[in-house]
Symmetry: C2
DNA sequence: GACATATGCGATAGAAATTGTCGCATAGGG
DNA sequence: CCCTATGCGACAATTTCTATCGCATATGTC
């Protein structure tokens, strides 16, 4: 259906193209264009590309943008969708990242280890945002490993710490709004279902910060116009709506300081460092020698075959947790207060079992 | 110093350029070229680029490649070095990744959380390989946050699990060789300083797998022509040299199976799942409700104010460690064997303190 | 329902960027 | 000291790119 009837006379008066000092404009404009493509569910129309490119200094006609978008979609496999009279462009969210600086096989391997390490540490909705990178790593390793004795997948293993908890399910849309609000200092209207409550309650929050702890992400925020921050687990939000209003931030609020002062989340208290003295059984000592508690840790073998380990460490809740976890493999020698504390805790724990010998 | 004397007559007989069906070849060739640039300490000469591009189907003269490499180095800031008569091209290893599919602010935020989570979990030499991505995330967040009330850095916090151990220092070159050998099934000649030994010993290893555990990476490998795999902590290698020889892999070796069978690294034993019954103090129960042990976990409040929690879990060493870490906040009700075990462990731990009341 | 409007897209020609070619300079290697 | 591989400036022939036009189509408005 060629409808070229051709205009008889056409102004050849062509708009003089910008004479940029540095060249390669076409390639650069195209790369810029590709980088503008948003990830689903966000999309962008051709005209929006045109405008953004104009802002970036690439003065071309819409037709050129159209052509480029169409041509490169075949090469890079991003998608389009006709809505109304415009075409909306986007990356499918499960597509691998494509780096101009490509990933080395070694970096891909580490990225794969990182992916597995993070499984227990971040909600799936959050990790999903990194999926393009993990995908890229997998693809790099796959393409690398043609004639291999074994697949790279059979060569990697990560041993997680602690039992594998179930991860709370975070709503992706809610998460997205919360992150955006946090970064852009906007208020949000939320429905939050508190612990033990069965109905979500509406409120307006001023996002102040995000805390990630053992696989749960919390939003620290003030509600309405109160000035006391509270924390809200991300997976308890049922609906989140960005508001136009700018969020109000308590005068001089600082997340670090806030967490330390309120002792929220068992953050390393930073009450100061203590000189920890431990007697450690041989089998447990080995891993401490492998990974010292501090750079200046000293280790001395005792007659008993145990090891006396001394190190300067932060006095935190996490430290107590770790010591208790080692069970009979460790004895705290000093500081005396910690020793008493641990001993007390062990006795309390043991005593819990005593009254109930019957059951 | 213009030395153009100009040849009087020049064959305009120009090599017909390939007529590829899909176009945009120039842009694609350049992107391909950029993706070929290795990261320092690897480098590539202009001729190597030319050859590789030819292999990839981009038939152009070396001069074109030269020109492109030079032109784009100004835009993308990769570096060159004259060695002999060739120019060697490379990315500085601290430069940010540049993605064709650019990172969203939310993904950048999660990548930043991931970076902090990983600090304790992977050696610095390994994390350094991911630095370009972290850098990219930081740059994305920086550029995003012009007129903000507070920097994004003051809005994020990660609470690590356990005390912050010192991380063993892995030699980057050694690590790189080991990873490459592992991925390419090559033997390596290594100098390894075993635990407690003060001198490194030479040997030839057949890399079989990598295990990451609590921040230490181990290489599982057979030595010389033995068939028993051993594990070697990456930070104990002092020198690693890739050999040309292909590595030998024990018949039917499988890392997963090997780790499970030998119980190396306290890997989740997978001896089967058990029905865990715990009585948990209210304050500890809250986080278990937030992050259940398993999807079907049941929680019941007892008259005592404690919570009876039941869940189907893997019976692992890590589970014991976790239970002990909770101290007096938890009492194991069942299975009976585990209950006995934990009680025994608590008593043993407590008894360690008794004989030494004097000190 | 008719019209105005915005967008998509084929075609085309003129303009500009691209690239093959040549000549020379330079730096190692034998 | 010559030989060879590489880098690079210059240039012109093309190729590629892109502004422009015309028309088709879908949507919103009156």
């Amino acid at each position: 259906m060629s409808r070229a009837k051709l205009s008889p006379e056409r102004k050849p008066a062509r708009k003089k193209r910008r004479s940029k000092q540095d060249d390669n404009t076409a390639t650069m404009r195209r790369i810029a264009m590709l980088q503008m493509i948003p990830t689903w569910p966000k999309t962008m129309t051709t005209s929006e590309f045109h405008e953004k490119l104009k802002l970036a200094g690439y003065m071309v006609e819409p037709r050129t943008v159209q052509r480029d978008l169409l041509e490169f979609s075949q090469t890079f496999h991003y998608l389009s969708e006709c809505r109304g009279r415009s075409i909306h462009w986007y990356w499918a969210n499960d597509r691998a990242a494509i780096s101009i600086r490509s990933i080395s096989p070694e970096a891909a391997l580490v990225l794969n280890l990182a992916e597995r390490e993070l499984q227990g540490l971040l909600p799936s909705a959050a990790l999903k945002l990194l999926e393009p990178y993990f995908q890229q790593a997998r693809e790099a390793l796959d393409s690398n490993g043609a004639t291999r004795l074994a697949s790279w997948k059979d060569k990697l293993q990560v041993i997680p710490r602690g039992p594998q908890f179930e991860k709370p399910r975070v709503d992706a849309a809610a998460q997205s709004s919360i992150f955006e609000a946090l970064l852009c200092d906007q208020k949000i209207r939320v429905f939050y279902r508190g612990r033990g409550q069965d109905r979500a309650k509406e409120s307006v929050l001023n996002p102040l910060g995000i805390v990630s702890r053992h696989g749960v992400i919390y939003l620290v925020a003030t509600a309405w116009s109160y000035s006391d921050p509270f924390h809200y687990a991300l997976h308890r939000f049922t609906r989140v709506e960005l508001m136009d209003e700018r969020c109000s931030r308590p005068e001089g609020f600082n997340l670090d300081r806030y967490l330390k002062e309120t002792r929220a989340f068992d953050l390393p208290t930073g009450q100061g460092r203590i000189r920890l003295k431990l007697d450690v059984a041989a089998e447990a000592a080995l891993s401490l020698i492998e990974r010292p508690l501090s750079a200046e840790q000293s280790v001395r073998e005792l007659q008993s075959g145990e090891f006396r380990i001394e190190a300067q460490v932060e006095d935190t809740m996490e430290l107590r947790w770790w010591i208790l976890g080692l069970g009979s493999n460790v004895k705290v020698i000093g500081p005396a207060s910690l020793r008493r504390e641990i001993l007390g805790c062990l006795e309390a724990a043991r005593n819990r079992y005593l009254p109930s010998v019957k059951d």
